[in-house]
C-alpha cells in the first residue's frame, strides 16, 4: 500500500481525468424523503458537481452494475425442432465506481468468495468485477450502521484508491498499479508524520460515533444452539415475507432462473432474477412440497446463512453491517435486535 496526501481541490482533477474516457458511477442525490432528508443512489455521472461524497447511505445499491437484478444468462434461437444457445456476459467497458463506502467494498469482497471462487466461478459477475475501478471514500456512521461489529468499517483490499477526508486534505491509499498510474498525474505529496496523526485522529473520532452494535462472540455456536428458540416464531410473525431486505442487501446473491419464449416464437431467453429467501416459494419443489413454508423458518434461514453457514465456509459473516435491511424493512425488523434476542439479551 502506498499512501499519498492531496489537497481537496485535486478531487475534481481526479474525477475529470477518469470521466474523460471512462464511464463513472457515483453517489448522487435523487430526491428527498418525506422528512426532507436527501435520498442518494449510485448512478452514472459525467459532472463532478453531481457527485455527493458526503452521502450517508444509498437504498439502491451499486450492486445493480455488477450483479443486476435481472439479467439474461442465455438467449436461444429456435429453428424448427432445433435451437442454438447464445451466451453474453453483458459487459463492454470498464466502470469507475467513485465513492464506495468500506461496507460496500467489503460486500464485494464477500461476493467474490462465492462468485469468483475456484468452484464454478460465475462469468457474468467475474467479467464485470474484472472491469471495476473502485475509489473508496470514508464515511460518518449513521444510527443504523453496525459495520464495526461485523469488522467491515475498514477495508484492506478490493479497491484501487481509498480517500479519507482528514480536514483540509484527502489521505489517499493507493492499492493498485492502475491507480498509481492515475495518481502520478495528480498533485499529491508523501504524507508527513502529522498527516498520519491526523488520519488516526479522524478514524478514532469516527469510531466514537457508532451507536448500533451486534455482539458476534460465539454467534455461530449460539445460532446452532438456538435453532429451536421461540424468538424465531416472534420475528416470523412480524416478518411480511416481502424480500425487501434482500433487495437492499449488498451481499445477497441468491437468484431464480426463468425461461420465456418471445412473441414471435423464434427466440427464447433464460433470465436470472435476484430472489429472496424470505419469499414463500424459495424452497418449494415440484409437486408442491415446501421445505420452509413458515415465514419464521425463512427468516431464520436468512440469519443462518449470513451469520452461521457463511462463517463456517469462509471464516467471516455474510453481513457487512450496513443496516440497509433494517432501514428498509416495512415491519421494522433490524439485525441488531434479532441477534440480541437470540442471545437472550434485553431489548
Amino acid at each position: 500500500m502506498l499512501f499519498r496526501i492531496a489537497e481537496k481541490t485535486e478531487l475534481k482533477a481526479l474525477f475529470d481525468m477518469l470521466a474523460e474516457k471512462n464511464t463513472v458511477v457515483g453517489p448522487v442525490q435523487t430526491d428527498t424523503d418525506r422528512k426532507g432528508k436527501p435520498l442518494f443512489a449510485f448512478e452514472q455521472i459525467t459532472d463532478q458537481g453531481k457527485l455527493r461524497l458526503d452521502y450517508t447511505t444509498t437504498r439502491l445499491l451499486a450492486k445493480r452494475y455488477f450483479l443486476p437484478f435481472r439479467e439474461d444468462l442465455a438467449t436461444f434461437t429456435v429453428n424448427g425442432g432445433d435451437w442454438t444457445k447464445d451466451i453474453d456476459y453483458h459487459i463492454d467497458r470498464p466502470y469507475v465506481f467513485f465513492g464506495l463506502h468500506a461496507c460496500d467494498i467489503n460486500a464485494l469482497n464477500k461476493l467474490d468468495k462465492v462468485l469468483m471462487g475456484n468452484v464454478y466461478p460465475m462469468p457474468y459477475y467475474v467479467a464485470k468485477r474484472m472491469n471495476m475501478f473502485i475509489i473508496g471514500i470514508d464515511c460518518r456512521p449513521q444510527p443504523f450502521c453496525f459495520c464495526r461489529s461485523m469488522g467491515a468499517d475498514t477495508v484492506l483490499h478490493g479497491f484501487d484508491l481509498f480517500l479519507t477526508d482528514i480536514g483540509d486534505k484527502y489521505f489517499i491509499e493507493v492499492l493498485s498499479a492502475g491507480a498509481y498510474g492515475i495518481i502520478k498525474d495528480l498533485r499529491t505529496e508523501t504524507p508527513k508524520e502529522s498527516d498520519h496523526l491526523q488520519y488516526m485522529r479522524t478514524v478514532a473520532e469516527k469510531n466514537k460515533l457508532f451507536t448500533a452494535r451486534v455482539d458476534t462472540t460465539d454467534l455461530t455456536k449460539i445460532l446452532d444452539m438456538e435453532f429451536q428458540s421461540p424468538v424465531w416464531k416472534q420475528w416470523g410473525d412480524k416478518c411480511l415475507g416481502c424480500g425487501t431486505c434482500a433487495n437492499v442487501c449488498p451481499t445477497c446473491y441468491c437468484y431464480g432462473v426463468e425461461e420465456t419464449v418471445d412473441v414471435g416464437l423464434q427466440k427464447a431467453r433464460k433470465t436470472k432474477s435476484l430472489y429472496s429467501c424470505n419469499i414463500v416459494d424459495f424452497a418449494e419443489v415440484a409437486g408442491g412440497h415446501n421445505f420452509r413454508p413458515e415465514r419464521s423458518s425463512r427468516l431464520k434461514y436468512r440469519y443462518y446463512h449470513k451469520h452461521r453457514g457463511f462463517v463456517e465456509a469462509y471464516e467471516e459473516s455474510l453481513c457487512v453491517g450496513c443496516g440497509r435491511c433494517g432501514e428498509a424493512c416495512l415491519a421494522g425488523i433490524t439485525v441488531p435486535e434479532v441477534i440480541a434476542s437470540v442471545r437472550g439479551e434485553e431489548q
Binding site: 474516457k21 436461444f76 425442432g81 468452484v119 467479467a127 432462473v257 434461514y301
Partner: protein
C-alpha cells in the same frame, strides 16, 4: 495523459468439457436428443437421452447418485438424478414424474426432441468403498429413480458385494416403478422385497410401511452381517428418517448409511442458494450425504 482504463474481455468460448474452474463452462449446455420415452406408471416416464456430439458423449461420465440439469429452451431447467448405469456411454436414462411445467412438456415429448443438459453435478454414492460388504438398497416411492444407478453398479460388479437386498416401498401396486427389471435383479442374486401401503385385489405381496419389511429383514441378520453392511436410502425425508433410525439402532454406523436429498435448484453450481439446507449447498455438498452429515444439517429432515 490518456486515462482510459483497459477493458478485460471475458468472451464466452463454449468450452466443451465440463471443468469446475472454467468460466465458460458455467452456462455450457450439451445438446442432447430424447431417443425414447417409456411409460412406467400413470405419472412417471423413463426418458432415454443421448448427447448428440459423439466426442462429448464419449467424454461425459458420471457416478451413481449424481444429477444433471435438464433444459428445454423457453420452458425451463430443473435437476434430475441419473437413473442409469455409469458404464453406459451412449444413453442417459432419467426417471421423471410429471409434476410441473417442465416435466409436463417433457411428458408430451416426441422421440428426437432436442433438450440441453448440464452436468453432471454433486456428490455420489461411494460404491467402491462398499466393495466387499453387504449392501441394503432402500427406496421409497420415486426414490427408486436415484437408486437405480447404484443398483446398476451392483449388478455390474456383483462379485464385489456379499449380500445384496433391495427394499422398495410404494403407496400402491400401480405406482411401482421398473417392474420389468425385478426378475433381472433376482437373477443377479439380489434379494428383492417389495411392500405397498394400499394393495389392490391382485396384490399378493407384503402390505404396510417400508419399515415393516426392513425390520423383519434386519432382525434375522447376525452382528457379523450388520458390522459389514452399508445402506443407501432414497425417498421422502419422513421415510429415510425412520429407516435410518431403525438401521442405526440395529448397529449400522451413521457414516455407512447414505441418503440423497431432493431440493429446489436453479443452477447446480453453488450460486443460486435455492437448494441450501441450513447453509449447506445440496448441489455441491450433496445430493448424496452420509446420515451423520444429514443429522447435522439443520432442517434437513
Amino acid at each position: 495523459m490518456d486515462h482510459r482504463l483497459a477493458f478485460h474481455n471475458v468472451t464466452p468460448h463454449h468450452h466443451k468439457y465440463h471443468r469446475k474452474a472454467d468460466l465458460d463452462s458455467f452456462e455450457f449446455t450439451y445438446k442432447a436428443e430424447i431417443t425414447s420415452v417409456y411409460r412406467l406408471t400413470e405419472h412417471e416416464n423413463l426418458y432415454r437421452i443421448r448427447i448428440m456430439d459423439s466426442e462429448d458423449r464419449r467424454h461425459f461420465s458420471f457416478r451413481p447418485g449424481q444429477f444433471i440439469m435438464l433444459e428445454i429452451p423457453g420452458v425451463g431447467e430443473a435437476p434430475f438424478s441419473i437413473s442409469s448405469s455409469p458404464s453406459n456411454h451412449e444413453d442417459i436414462e432419467l426417471c421423471i414424474r410429471t409434476a410441473g411445467n417442465l416435466t409436463g412438456v417433457l411428458s408430451r415429448a416426441q422421440r428426437g426432441m432436442r433438450v440441453g443438459i448440464r452436468g453432471p453435478f454433486g456428490t455420489s454414492f461411494p460404491m467402491e468403498h462398499m466393495h466387499g460388504g453387504n449392501i441394503l438398497l432402500i427406496a421409497g416411492g420415486l426414490g427408486l429413480a436415484p437408486l437405480r444407478s447404484p443398483i446398476a453398479h451392483v449388478q455390474e460388479h456383483r462379485s464385489q458385494f456379499d449380500h445384496v437386498d433391495i427394499i422398495y416401498g410404494a403407496r400402491e401396486p400401480a405406482q411401482l416403478l421398473f417392474k420389468f427389471q425385478y426378475e433381472m435383479w433376482k437373477k443377479d442374486d439380489i434379494n428383492l422385497h417389495v411392500i405397498v401401503e394400499k394393495p389392490d385385489p391382485a396384490w399378493t405381496g407384503d402390505v404396510g410401511l417400508i419399515t415393516k419389511v426392513l425390520e423383519s429383514i434386519i432382525k434375522g441378520r447376525d452382528s457379523t452381517f450388520i458390522d459389514n453392511t452399508y445402506a443407501i436410502v432414497c425417498g421422502p425425508p419422513v421415510m429415510f428418517k425412520f429407516v435410518c433410525a431403525m438401521l442405526a439402532e440395529r448397529g449400522i454406523p451413521m457414516q455407512k448409511m447414505f441418503v440423497s436429498l431432493e431440493r429446489r435448484m436453479h443452477c447446480g453450481m453453488g450460486k443460486c442458494c435455492r437448494c441450501n439446507v441450513g447453509s449447506t449447498y445440496t448441489c455441491l455438498s450433496g445430493p448424496v450425504f452420509d446420515y451423520w452429515s444429514v443429522l447435522n444439517l439443520k432442517e434437513a429432515i
